[in-house]
């Protein structure tokens, strides 16, 4: 509260000293302030006093709400959908374009807050890590969407939201896609969750490379039955996914068990659908259980849907689009309706904060037949373009958030870590020994538009910084060796598709310079707080019933284990 944030020495030298005279801090429950990126210190210098006043008001409001709720902070239900970019859920005008509807998410939007400018990371694992740790994925080393058995994942050193909330007295449960690594320390149950049911990997193994897809001719290029291999020397090049672990179940720090799949079995779309329905039913079941406990709860349901490619999913099309992903988007919307109904039925809807959002843009390799498509923004998953990193995000919390509001303020997926920690009265458990990208956006959530505390984002593709957003402008970094003053800048209001750079005469020559300064400050902060490596280990540690084919796979992997 009284202690002042101090910029690192090198940063002091790069911007005028005047900035560092008496910088107030965001009020903190503990003495030490949270360490944010350099850009935030600049905003703090400009808005710190106003923010400190707002923070007092907000803290009093949150305390009042806890008071009225028997002293407990709200329950949190965090629903993260896969590969759904901006305009794919909860916006009827846009659903129409694609010939399907998501009425339950639309209703949630009407009852809550629509975050109109949510930046995620460009891919599954990075977004999920960023949400869980409040740190951009690049800082944790988990920069790629994990696709195969790799023996790596989120380090135990990272502090997750589940750990923060556990410290504050929450009961924590994870259901569905996790995707933060296939090694023991990365598993949800070793990253703060009291109980979890989740697949170890992503959906490629399950929804694309299954037997149904092979029969339907979706994976002709993979199937040994569907191609003559006369000239094929290497018989292992094309992956056989059936040795990989599918879904596991377990409790905090305990062993995991693979479930619903036997040795020698072949995975089909039916397995996938049952697994997905299982996570949804598990979510409903856990809600009942958790609502009877004394603790506030943090329940995370991360569906693998709408990832779906085979026609056999569709008994009778429910959408005019008819593509498997459009059908699945509509289906998962119905499931979200079931979860929201359950909250009503249990009488806990008012004091439960519900988030529904997408994790990144559509994967352009999936579009077309799947029924998914790009729209509005250019690009998709893995791209630093807006199409890759802008998603719909809705938050409902009836006792605290005004119904039906839209905010255009910028927010980043890492902000959810910090914001939810504050809502849960758990800020003191946010670590102070590392750089936290997530900012506290509680004021915007409660007071609405113009109360946002972010006007910038650094966008990476994997480990490479690709663009810098500030206000409505986006600077695409030039390739190595090119002079950044010639790099293109886009006005996202005037050109949302990022295909016509601004005219340097119209916007002022040298418009790129402040972006270069931002880049230097951002990279400079890494001298003090370097990016870390992810963890490496033998895959599948702590899973007690590995199938023989999985054991053979682990033995091969162990031989190549990096130190």
């Amino acid at each position: 509260m009284t202690k002042e944030a101090q910029p690192p020495k090198w940063l002091k030298a790069t911007i005028p000293m005047i900035f560092w005279l008496s910088v107030p801090t965001i009020s903190q429950a503990q003495e030490e302030p949270i360490i944010h990126d350099a850009e935030q210190m600049i905003l703090l210098q400009q808005h710190g006093e106003r923010w400190a006043e707002e923070d007092e008001e907000i803290s009093a409001f949150l305390a009042e709400i806890r008071e009225a709720n028997g002293g407990k902070p709200p329950n949190i239900v965090n629903i993260l959908l896969d590969d759904l970019g901006f305009g794919e859920i909860g916006m009827p005008d846009l659903d129409v374009i694609r010939g399907y509807s998501t009425p339950n998410i639309s209703q949630l939007a009407d009852e809550g807050l629509s975050l109109m400018r949510m930046y995620t990371e460009a891919s599954c694992t990075p977004t999920r890590v960023a949400m869980m740790t409040g740190r951009m994925a690049v800082r944790t080393g988990t920069t790629e969407a994990k696709a195969v058995v790799a023996g790596d994942g989120l380090s135990a050193w990272e502090v997750t939201l589940a750990e923060v909330l556990s410290e504050a007295g929450y009961e924590t449960v994870h259901m569905g896609k996790w995707h933060l690594g296939d090694i023991e320390e990365a598993f949800a149950t070793n990253q703060g969750f009291d109980y979890a049911e989740f697949p170890i990997h992503q959906q490629g193994q399950m929804a694309i490379m299954n037997e149904t897809a092979e029969i339907e001719g979706m994976t002709m290029g993979q199937s040994p039955k569907l191609r003559a291999d006369t000239l094929e020397l290497d018989k292992t090049f094309r992956t056989n996914p059936h040795a990989m672990v599918y879904g596991v179940v377990g409790s905090k720090n305990g062993p995991l068990r693979e479930v619903n799949f036997e040795a020698g079995e072949v995975f089909t779309q039916d397995h996938y659908n049952r697994m997905e329905e299982g996570y949804k039913n598990g979510t409903l079941r856990e809600l009942e259980r958790l609502s009877q406990g004394d603790k506030p709860f943090f329940l995370q349901w991360w569906p693998q849907l709408p990832i779906s490619f085979t026609r056999s999913d569709i008994v009778e099309a429910q959408t005019m689009n008819g593509g498997p992903m459009a059908e699945a988007t509509h289906r998962v919307d119905g499931w979200i309706g079931e979860v929201l109904d359950k909250l009503d039925e249990l009488g806990i809807a008012d004091n439960t904060l519900v988030i529904v959002m997408g994790d990144n843009g559509p994967f352009m390799q999936y579009v077309d037949k799947s029924g998914q498509s790009d729209r509005i923004y250019r690009g998709g998953k893995t791209d630093h373009l807006e199409g890759g990193v802008r998603t719909n995000a809705y938050i409902r919390w009836p006792v605290a958030i005004e119904a039906g509001a839209r905010v255009q303020d910028m927010i980043h997926v890492t902000d959810l870590f910090t914001t939810l920690a504050r809502v849960a009265d758990a800020e003191e458990f946010i670590p102070r020994d590392r750089l936290i990208d997530g900012l506290d956006q509680t004021p915007m959530m409660i007071k609405g538009e113009t109360y946002g505390r972010r006007d910038y984002a650094f966008i990476y593709e994997g480990p490479v910084l690709k663009s810098i957003v500030k206000q409505q402008y986006k600077f695409h970094l030039p390739p190595p060796g090119s002079n950044p003053i010639a790099a293109p800048i886009f006005d996202l209001y005037k050109n949302p598709r990022e295909d016509r750079p601004v005219d340097a005469i119209y916007y002022g020559v040298g418009f790129g310079i402040p972006f270069v300064d931002m880049m230097k400050r951002h990279l400079g902060m890494k001298m003090q707080y370097p990016d870390r490596e992810q963890a490496h280990d033998v895959p599948y540690g702590g899973i007690e019933n590995l199938r023989p084919e999985t054991q053979a796979l682990v033995a091969r992997m162990s031989a190549m284990k990096p130190k």
Copy 2:
């Protein structure tokens, strides 16, 4: 009612005879049915009986509403905005993307019906002709957006909606952009309007090539002051617009007078803004006058906005976008709010049908600095792509149309001619001696989604048929000489941007064949009802106060007048 539609002989030969056994007709006030395109006869064969039943119900409902309104059909206020494609007005989720808002149009949408799949023509003049005549522009010869003094325009032979409604007892007024020709017979006052105030041409002359734009450096390429013309032999190549007629005023079949511009004067952005504000104020004034009369009225206000390019329009930016066209879109939305308020104030809102729509997609030559941009759909004005021919369209009529509904049924701008004629109880005045593309969509308007009567559209660029839409599919015609079975087909739900043709194996080889059949039927009907020429004449006939510079221009034009 009893008489049956008969297909032309050649058409009978191309499709099975069974189609033509006992084809029922849409019920008509007069004996002769309206002549529609071949495609509609096929739909009529499939749905005629159901439609006839619905039509009886609808007619009874409309009669009831007239009864309750002192025997009068509703007033009609028809607001058509320029160069605003789909997603630019009335959709808050999409306004956000571009950093502006259109709250009044959004409110109109909430109070009325959103037509989510309105097809227009690809450019100003064609869309306006199509709306006025119920015929695709190609049938009337007015296929291009008129940009210069051309001595041509809509033929007197064509029958406009204003003429149809006049016959039925309406008082008719037009304010603002007209753009159907610069010759006497094409003027609004000679095409059915009792009174009109309108510019003769489009906005290029006024909003782009004015002195303000020159000073601001928008038109450096045009200005003789801003370029050295050392090697310029032809001093007339770059247009001097000031001799062209600007705005005129007049009454039915009477002379017109040019107003608010003197001989020798130079046009500025200020003139343009005053002109635009004048049409808006004239609309408010006419509403007051018309509301005191005994007749139902048809008041058409076609703003020239949001076309606007100079910064001097913007005293203080009202939008985060800040571009002149984004600012103007927000401004014209405010004006629409004034018109809607006036209807309330006059106590006539309930029995007034209000339409607000855009005429075609954004002109891609204007985007970027103007603040306008493409989004969702690919392409813009002049393109047959969805970006060129899809616009937002809203209809409010409180006593008849359910508030807040969206319909995904297809509608074409020509349908407004036929639909409004029916609403006005004026169907009998629709001519029966020509092909009318417009279908009666009153059932959809009143009964909602799935009551639409169209599942096809033929899309032209100028006089060239470029694509055929049927259901969710769009067939891009191949270039002359190419075999149409290889032409690309797009699934608009799965690929709204029309950049990934459907896979012929997935959709069935030969999927192009029914489109080729549609094309043949459509072109075949033209053997019986050929496309016509537009009218040609000396420009500016009947304008009684031409300035000396304009008279000189006309003299030059007269010398080249085509016979």
